[in-house]
Amino acid sequence: MESHLSRKYTLAELEPGWPEDLSTARVKSSPRMHGSMMMSLRRVSRSPENSRLYAHGDPVHLIDWKAYARTDELIIREHRDEAAARVGIVLDLSDTLHWPRPDAVRENGMSERIPQKIETAIRVALYLAHAHVTMGDMVSIGILDPGGEVTKAWSPRSPADVLGMYQMCLKSGFADAIQSLTMVTSWIPKKFDTTWWLSDFLAREIFPADWSETRKLAVIHVFSWLESSSEWMDGGTSYRDDSRGRKIYLGDQLRVGDQWREAMSTWREKVRKSARGSGGVYMAIDDRTNVGDFFHWLITEAAS
């Protein structure tokens, strides 16, 4: 299979179980430095951060005698126990994620297939679930209801469960497949060691503060590439929002200058701040985001 480094895959093509996942074996040969939070690095290393000076009371057998011979200092090699992490993946399936509708896209004169935001979000969620299950973590995928609470969830037991779900998604549609498998469950957010949060933040415009107690939080802001750019817009068409405020703009106006890009950037920054305020990391993705960029973010920010 062609590597993501040689071909620019996008998130619209992301599948669970991609070779470039987060499992330990892959990490070893990848440029990343650290694993998931709960991963134990037992590999012998001479890097100084994994060793410390012997302190009175430490077990003698753990002294690195070779190092003592070389440096004449008593060095202790540390290792950590590994444990399964509890991972929560919160998926916002609000109406706004079902955008853009294929018929509207066709009416607008675009022939290519443009995935809805929810498809991108579920692809990412399943990929993350597969990676964590593979590493031995306990994963729960929770669906946000309109009240902002998670009342239904699904916990894959094995990587095969995740792949099965993916197949089902391809067959019967992403949103429907996820909805059919989830069941009512007791979902206690505080128990999670890691929480992945996928939403477009249109139904709820900022990250809810009561989720900030999770130990590790990563917020993935899901867009469609139609939202990221205004270049595809038609001057004679007006672009509207149906919610209570009901705004409507003419395409001619929106295409003028950088105003769309700047408004989007302001909006992302606002969500980023609310995520940061809850102690999380943030990334904005759309269906044309490069998979490599996404992985790089996972390695450098989300998993650190």
Binding site: L202, T237, S238, D241, D242, K247, Y249, L250, W267
Partner: protein
């Protein structure tokens, strides 16, 4: 619905309505196309959270509109639709073929009220209108004016008649009918509901109307008595007393109409509801009138009633046909005549005042006297009211240089009437009459300037006047030299001059004692007034000049604009004699009489169009648009009002542009010899405001010369005394009057003694001479007006000096420049010794207090002078 359709059909045609509906549908299609095609929409939820700088697309949002603007909009839209679809809506609706246009004219003159009551007249109108029938289009009008009413129901017409009532003015049926018919246009028949009064029917050539229309007379008197009844009325009232009399005597003429029967009763005079006098009267059989005398004390009618009317009421013992003319109004006459006396005053030395005996004499002989120092400015709005209402003016002469101050300016009359008589009197027997001659020469009455030699004597002056046609007053016939005055009249220019050859005041040398003087003045005054007042003055002369309207329709047509004034005139007018006489016109001279059941409406006329008059509608439209605008502004204002914080600065903004210092602030009024506009008195102003209750402006007011503006100031500081002097080194007239009126001159700096003496020489005249320049006494009020000063600083041996006039300080000569030592950058002290700044400030404050407190005297003797200084009009 049917009603709506029929209303639409009467205004619009079916084809017009179809075209309008088609047009509306087309507009709808175009709007739909624009909305559907041009505005293709694409759902994009993200825009709800984006803060985009572009404006949103305008779109139609249906919301509940605010009430007031919506109503205003509805009114404006309705008005627009109605008045733009029919820009010249007809005054009356279209004729249906076969309909007649009939007009009914109701005479409501006083004489009609002698024959029929108001309710009966209404009933009569109902009867007539009922008989005319529904087939005719009927309008009606009254003698009150040229208003034409369209008939709704006969009862409504009767109510209108009763509401209007009879009018006091007379009516001329001819002009009334003509005006109303002109408004209606083509007409088929005119009904005139009236009596047979000669005055009302006089001058009506009704036969000319027959060319276009049929004229019928409906007699209000059905009894067949032909309208001749007994009627008593007041024909006239004459005022008899002379001006200033203690009683007011009147002769009132009570007259009877054409039936000269015997009659008796009482006559009462009243003003503003208060009875003045009552008398009995009697007209014997065969006589037409009787004269009744009434009299009451002048004090019964105070001055403030002079605009009211005296109301005369006659009561008739044995009944009277016409009640309306038993009340009669005349204006108030007999009040004291106002006289304006102009002359330079002698201050509080009243006995020294040359014109004081004349003022007193005029006052005791029944005149209101107003005294002025000088002739007023020629700006009409600044001329005091007394000059306008005065019956004559008196001026005492001065010298030739100050001609403008005492020589009256007389407006030329266009009507050949005397505007106001003028007396000119010299001050001294030995005085040169050249100044008076110069004054008379201004009027162009034959005296020219080259006659006015500086050495013109009294005899020469009399001879000059006699030469230009002046008449002698006093003295023996043919002996000019004995003349008290010469009277010069130019009727063409409206000039009446009484030029005295002797001073108009008691004088032992002339044999004119204080006892005789008022009698002489009274005779002269009544001679001056009697000659012209009654005959020439229409407004106040022969009584009976209270308006007596013989034709009310003329007033109605002419005074439409001034409604309140008009109604006042109509309500208070006296009934014209013609109406009161109750004379009748022979039946043969009247149009054919109409009786019930006539065939008035049976004639069919071809279809006609009425006259069109768009103006009422245009005016109505303007009013509606204006109201809509006002409502809109009110609504907007309500919204703005919520943002008071934003509105307030806008409201206050004009204050920044139009800010003026408080008028209570004191200023240093400085007549400086050079431009000193950069000199400030900041520290002095601080000292003054912290020590006294007065605020002193830090910036002085500068005057280049002593002009009229400077003469309005309470004090003037100057180092250049010469600026007040004329070419002869003496004080100018303006400055002299200012000083006499209460001004304080502060000569700030060294002055030459001689120059000062010469400058103030004109103020040294008079029998009780002022003491002149003197050193400031240590117990003078100036030394204790605020601070108790022990001494004043001297400079090079010179001390402070004052000039007192009229019992107060008029001028203060400071031996050094006080202002220079008080200004923010004080000048170097160049006099002997050292004087502390504190001492200078104290001196300034005492000066300020002396200058500004002129009303400390409470004695009544000086009150006229004090009031004058305070510019309180007398």
């Amino acid at each position: 619905m049917d009603a709506i359709f029929s209303a639409l059909r009467s205004t619009y045609t079916w084809s017009g309505l179809s075209i309008a509906a088609l047009g509306l549908a087309l507009v709808g299609i175009v709007v739909w196309w624009i909305i559907r095609k041009r505005l293709r929409e694409f759902l994009m939820p993200i825009v709800r959270v984006l803060d985009l700088p572009v404006s949103r697309l305008p779109r139609i949002v249906i919301r509940r509109p605010p009430l007031i603007p919506f109503l205003a909009f509805l009114a404006a839209a309705t008005a627009l639709i109605i008045w733009t679809t029919r820009p010249s809506l007809k005054v009356f609706s279209d004729f249906e073929p076969g309909m007649s246009q009939i007009h009914v004219y109701v005479d409501m003159s006083p004489s009609v009220s002698a024959h029929i009551s108001l309710n009966d007249l209404g009933a009569k109108l109902v009867a007539v209108l009922g008989q005319i029938g529904p087939k005719a289009r009927v309008t009606f009008g009254t003698s009150h004016g040229d208003d034409v009413y369209e008939l709704t129901t006969p009862a409504a017409a009767a109510d209108l008649i009763v509401g209007l009532g009879f009018h006091r003015g007379g009516s001329k049926i001819g002009s009334g009918v003509r005006a109303q018919v002109a408004k209606i246009g083509d007409i088929d028949q005119v009904f005139i509901i009236s009596d047979r009064d000669q005055h009302s029917w006089g001058g009506f050539q009704w036969q000319y109307l027959l060319v276009d229309a049929d004229v019928r007379h409906v007699d209000v008197d059905d009894t067949g008595s032909h309208g001749i009844k007994s009627n008593v009325f007041i024909q006239d009232a004459h005022y008899l007393s002379p001006s200033g009399s203690l009683t007011m005597d009147w002769d009132v003429e009570v007259a009877e109409g054409v039936l000269a029967t015997a009659a008796s009763g009482t006559l009462n005079a009243s003003i503003a509801g208060e009875s003045l006098a009552t008398a009995n009267w009697e007209i014997p059989a065969g006589r037409r009138s009787a004269t009744v005398s009434l009299s009451w004390p002048s004090t019964k009618i105070p001055e403030e009633f002079s605009k009211e009317a005296i109301e005369w009421t006659v009561e008739v013992a044995n009944g009277d046909a016409l009640v309306m003319d038993n009340r009669f109004r005349t204006p108030v006459v007999g009040h004291r005549d106002r006289v304006v006396v102009v002359g330079e005053p002698a201050g509080e030395l009243r006995l020294e005042d040359f014109l004081m005996p004349l003022e007193t004499a005029l006052s005791v002989s029944g005149h209101e006297v107003s005294r002025f120092d000088r002739w007023p400015s020629q700006v009409p709005s600044q001329v005091p009211e007394q000059f306008k209402t005065a019956r004559f003016w008196v001026a005492s002469t001065g010298d030739e240089k100050t001609l403008d101050y005492w020589c009256p300016t007389i407006a030329k009359s266009e009507a050949g009437r005397v505007v106001v008589p003028v007396w000119l009197t010299p001050r001294l027997v030995t005085e040169s009459f050249a100044a008076m001659c110069q004054c008379v020469a201004r009027y162009g009455v034959g005296v020219s300037k080259n006659m006015c030699d500086g050495s013109l004597t009294r005899e020469g002056w009399i001879a000059t006047l006699a030469g230009v046609g002046a008449k002698q007053i006093g003295g023996d016939v043919g002996m000019n030299n004995g003349a008290v005055a010469m009277k010069l009249i130019d009727r063409g220019q409206g000039i009446d001059l009484t030029l005295f050859t002797v001073p108009l005041r008691p004088d032992a040398k002339l044999g004119l004692t204080w006892g005789e003087f008022p009698i002489l003045v009274k005779q002269l005054a009544s001679f001056t007034l009697g000659q012209f007042s009654r005959a020439d003055d229409d407004a106040r002369g022969a009584v009976g000049d209270w308006p007596r309207l013989s034709d009310i329709s003329q007033v109605a047509a002419g005074e439409r604009g001034a409604d309140s004034n008009r109604s006042q005139v109509l309500r208070e007018t006296n009934v014209p004699v013609g109406e009161s006489m109750l004379a009748v016109v022979p039946t043969s001279d009247l149009p054919p009489s109409w009786s019930s059941g006539g065939t008035a409406t049976r004639e069919h006329m071809p279809s006609k169009r009425d006259s069109e008059d768009p103006w009422p509608w245009v005016r109505g439209l303007a009013v509606v648009i204006l109201l809509a605008l006002v409502a809109e502004i009110l609504w907007l204002w309500r919204r703005w009002f919520r943002r008071v914080a934003k509105v307030l600065p806008v409201l206050l903004l004009p204050a920044f542009f139009d800010a003026a210092p408080s008028p209570a602030q004191a200023r240093i009024d400085w007549m400086a010899p050079r431009d000193t506009s950069n000199v400030m008195f900041q520290s002095l102003a601080r000292e003054v405001s912290s020590r006294t209750s007065l605020e002193l402006s830090a910036k002085p007011d500068f005057f280049g010369n002593f002009d009229d503006a400077a003469a309005e100031r309470p004090w003037i500081w100057t180092s250049a005394a010469a600026k007040l002097a004329g070419s002869d080194g003496q004080i100018s007239m303006t400055a002299r009057l200012w000083l006499k009126r209460g001004g304080l001159l502060i000569l700030d700096g060294t002055q030459s003694d001689d120059a000062l003496d010469k400058l103030f020489e004109p103020l040294m005249r008079g029998t009780v001479k002022p003491s002149g320049w003197m050193a400031m006494p240590p117990d003078h009020e100036f030394m204790r007006s605020f601070y108790l000063l022990n001494s004043l600083p001297t400079c090079r041996g010179k001390s402070w000096r004052i000039f007192s006039f009229d019992g107060r300080v008029t001028a203060i000569a400071v031996p050094y420049s006080l202002l220079s030592s008080l200004q923010d950058q004080p000048a170097k002290w160049s006099c002997e010794g050292q004087v502390a700044y504190e001492q200078q400030v104290r001196i300034f404050i005492n000066l300020m207090m002396t200058a500004f407190t002129t009303d400390y005297k409470r004695d009544q003797i000086h009150l006229p002078e004090i009031l004058k200084r305070l510019r309180v009009p007398q």
